[in-house]
């Protein structure tokens, strides 16, 4: 079963389908975040031991008025993740090519 699933994912013919599925997931997760902001569910969701969460602390473990401003913006972490990833790849590879990357036998 594992082999079948892995073969399906690895098969180049299915890459289009997988990509579409991935994009839909992205949309769903952003919608979830927007919904969370609109309805502002501070309560723990119904998952194991959800009920035990401390009553006088918010889910972050500190008072709500200290919240980071980014937490208030819809889809903030989507943008942060995307831009962060792009910048990281470009900067690291850039610095690498300009300076850090040497031939493999550099120290020999």
């Amino acid at each position: 079963m594992i082999k079948k699933a892995v073969d399906y994912i690895g098969n180049p013919e299915n890459s289009g389908k997988l990509r579409r599925f991935f994009y839909i997931t992205l949309i769903v997760i952003v919608l979830l975040d927007i919904g969370e902001h609109l309805f502002h569910t501070e309560h723990p969701v119904d998952l194991p031991q959800g009920e035990h969460a401390s009553a006088n602390l918010s889910h972050k473990g500190h008072a709500a008025d200290e919240e980071f401003i980014g937490e208030e913006i819809w889809g903030f972490w989507s943008v942060y993740g995307f831009i962060g990833c792009i910048i990281m790849i470009i900067v690291c590879k850039g610095v690498g090519h300009a300076w850090l990357m040497k031939k493999e036998n550099y120290y020999d």
Binding site: P48, G50, H59, F82, M88, I89, G96, L100, M101, K103
Partner: protein, 586 residues
Amino acid sequence: MTNLWINPAFLFILGSFLIPILKGRVKHTFLLLVPAVAFLDVVLMSQGTYGAVQFLGMDLIFGKVDRLSLVFAHVFTLMAFIGVLYSLHVKDDGQHVAAYLYMGSSLGAIFAGDYVTLFLFWEIMAFSSVFLIWYRRTQKAVNAGFRYLLVHIVGGLFLFAGILLRHGEVGSFAFGAISPEGVTLATYLIMIGFCLNAAVPPIHAWLPDAYPEATVTGTIFLSVFTTKVALYALIRAFAGFEILAIIGPIMAVYGVCYAVIENDARRILAYHMVSQLGYMVCGVGMGTEMAINGAIAHAYAYIIYKGLLFMGTGAVLEMTGKSKLNELGGLYKYMPITLLFTVTGGISISGFPLTSGFIGKSMTVEAAESYKIFIFLMLMIASIGTFLSVGLKLPYYIWFNKDSGIKPKEAPLNMKLAMGIAAFICYFLGVYPKFLFDMLPYPVHWEPYTISHFAEVMQLLLFTGLGFLLLLKKLTPEPTLNLDVDWFYRKGSKVFMWVANKPIAIYEEYLGEIYNKWFTNFTLRFSNFLWRIFDVKIIDGIVNDIAGFWKDLGGVARLSQTGLVRNYAFFMLLGGILFITYYLFK
């Protein structure tokens, strides 16, 4: 001593002596039995102080058992079992012995209640672990092993100096929390000693230099113990030191940046260790209950999933002989199970929901949010890099991308089992975090499974995935070597060699003389003595086995028969003499 306490360290250390004698199934059973017994020992252990010994007027405590040492011992013995299972097929007895001594001394350090005991085990760790590198038997491994040893000896000297100075100041060797107020030189020396083993930049380069050169199975052990013992020591002594809270996030980002450009799969993971340790060091520095809990929960989860990742890439190295991403690719048809386990490690380390990263790493990150926002944002950047380099790049270029034409078999059964257990624990902790939370030193007032936490993590990770997808071409692994601060001692060693060749050569003769006279003589007499006992009392077959083992070990040890190691031994001896003299005449 009120009730019976068995130090799990001694189970491993004594057990290591039996390994060369045993054979076949008995040996396999024994190898697995010792960590299993040690694990039970830790689970059943109750808190308290045990094993207090008076030595030269010093109070040595071998068993300081509290919630902090217990949780580390718990995961150490658990991972010891998994690691031994993974390496069960290894024929080299020496590797098993080295691993056992290494694991034993790590546990010894965890339970040490004073600096002398801690230092003793600290040094055994360095000297036993280097064999896990040397046993790879390549010239690269030998050289890397020497650098590893050299760096750790220097770190050990810092620690040693700090311990002595501290004793002069406070008059005791007790190992406990140091107050962030009124720090002295001694405090910093000890901190440097710990930080070196925790791979804190700029004294981190030994880790990505040496770990990827170790044997396939040796790396699993290496990835667990040295750095986590150092983390434990930092938590014990330096909780609340703000400097660590600032270095931590720098480490976290530094490590992932190298992981993004690195080509060797195991070196990616090694660099990534620096990054993950950054989270934990940051947690120690913040010092709040939640942050300390977070650092420990992260360390617990991390030991398992980093072990799993090294096991996955190790299996690929074992089956294909390759670990460089540019030489691999398209393995999904041949090693699907290893892929599944490695990806489990990858998503756990990235902190996906239902995995241990979601409940471990996140706690430190959340603690950082209420501490300082820029630290929090840096840790988030490191999370992006984590998923990018370990969750996506590593599996993609090994198992997918182009077909490299390699057609390996799936990993052997014991490797798959070990990976399976580790993968199971990753999910188990993610689904049932209470198991881990109940072991932490402070009560946990934090609920990982909230919609906002879920949405935050998923957005961050999935949009990182989008960035990866779009810039896939830019990320293509390149067969290069990346400069790091080890440049200073790798290129700088040329200068050192000149000094070593000219002025020191004069002393070298003198040192050699001492070595021959004392050390060699002693070894000869000792082995002579052993030979007599064994010859008289134990049947010949066993003697032959032992001889074979020592011959093997000798082959590896021969690598160390250069002037350098003799010099280290000399300095260690000198240090020991100074140390004892100080106590006799102070």
